[in-house]
Amino acid sequence: MSASADKRSAYADRRADAGPPFFDLLRLPGVGWFLRQRWARLGMQIPLLLLSVVLVWHGFLGPDLAPKNLATLLTWVHYRGLLVLVLLVAGNFFCMACPFLLPREIARWIFRPVWNWPVRLRNKWLAVALFVLLLFAYEYFGLWSTPFWTAWLIVAYFAGALVVDALFRHASFCKWVCPIGQFNFLASTLSPLEVAVRDLNQCVECRTKDCICGPPASETAADAGRLALPLLAKRGCELALFQPMKVGNLDCTFCLDCVHACPHDNVGLVTRMPGAELAAEEPRSGLGNPLTRPDLAALAIVFTFGALLNAFGMVSPVYVLQAWLSGVLGTTERAPILAILFAVALIVEPVLLLGLAAWWTRRATGTALSLPRLATRYAYSLVPLGFGVWLAHYAFHFLTGALTVVPVLQNALAEIGWPVLGQPNWEFTGMRSGSVFVLELGFLTLGLVGSWIVAIRLARKDQPSAPWRAYLSWVVLQSILWAAAIWLLAQPMEMRGTFLGD
C-alpha cells in the first residue's frame, strides 16, 4: 500500500465515496463571495458588537421594564429565536458572527496567551456545568424579566471570553467553556450545512496542512507589518479540527479560518444529511469518537432534558409543583426548590429513563456493553428531539413577538429625546399563538422522527440481524419525551418570576 493510499484510508470520511458536494455555499455569488473574504467574520462581528453595546446600555440605563427594554427583548425573543431557526435551516452562523470574540481578538494584540488549556479540563464537563448554571440563573433571576441582569449576562459573557482567551491559547473559550457554543455545536449536528473539504484527494497530496497548522511562517511574516493583522490573520483551526479528518459540525464554530488558510481552496461550506453525524462511529479530529465519550453524552442529555425543563419553567403546572415543594420543605426560598427541580429533571430523570432503556437494549441484544456505555452511545439519539423542543419553544416566542421590536425601538428613541421613528405603535406584535402551535407540533415531530432514525441507525450496527431489539426501548423513550413536550407546550403559558410569597 502506498503512503498516499494509506492516508486516503485514514481520511476516509462518509463523503469520500459520495463524490463532490452537491451544494457549496461558498461558491455562490453574493453570500458566497462575502464569506470568502478574510474580513467576513469581522464584518459580522462589528455590527453585533455595536448592537451588544446598545443592549448593555439600554439594559442598565433604559426602562426597568422587560417588555420595553431592548436588552430583554432582543436577547430573549430575537436572538434565541433566530439562533435556533438559523441552525435549523443553515448552520452555526451565530458562532461565526459571535461578537464576544472581538474584544478577545483585540486583547490578543497585547497579551499573547502562552498557556494551553489544562489537559484535565479538555472535556465538556465544565461546559456541561456552565450550561446547567445558565439555565438555573435564567430561572432563578427570572432573566427574561429583568433588563438589568440580562445586561449583566452579556457583560459577563464578554468578560469571560476575554479573560479565558487572554490567558489560554487557541479558541479555549469556545471549545471548553462557552455554554452557548456547546448548545450551537449540538444543535448544528442537525444543520444542513457543514464546513468540509471539497476533494479529499487534494488533502492527500497536501504537504503543509495549513487548515490546521496555520500558514507557513514566511507568509505570516509578510503580513506582519499591517496593523490589522491580528484581526485578519490567517490561522489554522483554533478548535483543533483537521479538515480531512473532520466529521460533522461538533465543535465547529463556522469561523472559516480553515477556508482562508487552505492554500488549495479546498474547504467549502457544503450540504450534508442533517443528523447523520449523530450515529457516525469513525474517530473525529479534535473529538475522538463521541459515541464513547461520557462528557459529550452528558451534554447531549442536558441539552435534551434541559429543553423540556426550560419549557416547563413557563407553563402553569410548574407553579403548582413549586408551591407543593415549598410546602413540603417548609421554605419559600427559591434556590433549594429550584435546585431540587433541576436535580430531578437533569439527573434523576435521565439516569432512570436512559438506564431503563439501556437495560432493555442490553437484555434484548445480549451485548457486552455496560449500561453506562450503552446510555452514552444512544444518548445522541435524543439530540434531534431536544433540538425540536428548543425550536418549538424559542420559535414560539420569536414568531409571536418579533414585531414588538418596532414600538420598543420607537419608545427607546423617544425616551432619549430623538423620536425619529415616531411615537410607539404598540399594535405591532407577531403571529397568533394558535397558528404558531401548528408549527411547534411540526418541529417536535420532525425532532422525534430524527431521533428515531438516529436510534435505528445505531441499532443496525449493534444488532444487524434484529435491530429492533436494540432500538425499541429508545424509540419508546423518545416517543414518551415527545408526548411530554407536546403536553408541555399545550399548557397555558404562565411566565412568572415570582412564584412564591405573593
Binding site: P103, I110, T404, T498
Partner: protein, 134 residues
Amino acid sequence: MKMMQRFLVFLAIAPMTILVPSGCSKSSTDGAPDVKVELRMSPDPPTVGQGTATVTLTDKDGGPLRGATLKLEGNMNHAGMKPVFADAKELDPGKYEASVNLTMGGDWFFLIDAVLADGRRLKRKIDVPGVKSR
C-alpha cells in the same frame, strides 16, 4: 511604539466589555409622590380574560382624589407581548374603574398614568403577579 499604539486601541475598546453599570433604572418621573395609589383586580385572584381594574387615589390624609383623568397600561413582565390599554372612569369619588383584558397567565404589571385635578401628572408602576391561566 507599536505596542503603545495597540495598548491605546485596547484601552479605548476594553471599557465596552467592562461597562460599569452606573445608576439604576429611572422610570419616568412621578409628579405626585405624596398620592397613594391602590390597584385592585377583579376577579381576585386575577385570571386570564376580561376583568376589571379598580384604582383608588387618596391624598396624604386619606381623602379621595376626585376628577383625575386616568390611563392604564398593562404589560407582562417578559418581552414580546402586546400591552393592553384602558381609560378608567371615576365611579365613586376617588375610585376609578377600567375594564382590562388579561391575555396570558403569569406576572403582569400596570402602568398608571393620571392627570390629577390640580394638574399634576402621576405615574406609577404596580405589579399584578400570578395572573391565573384558565
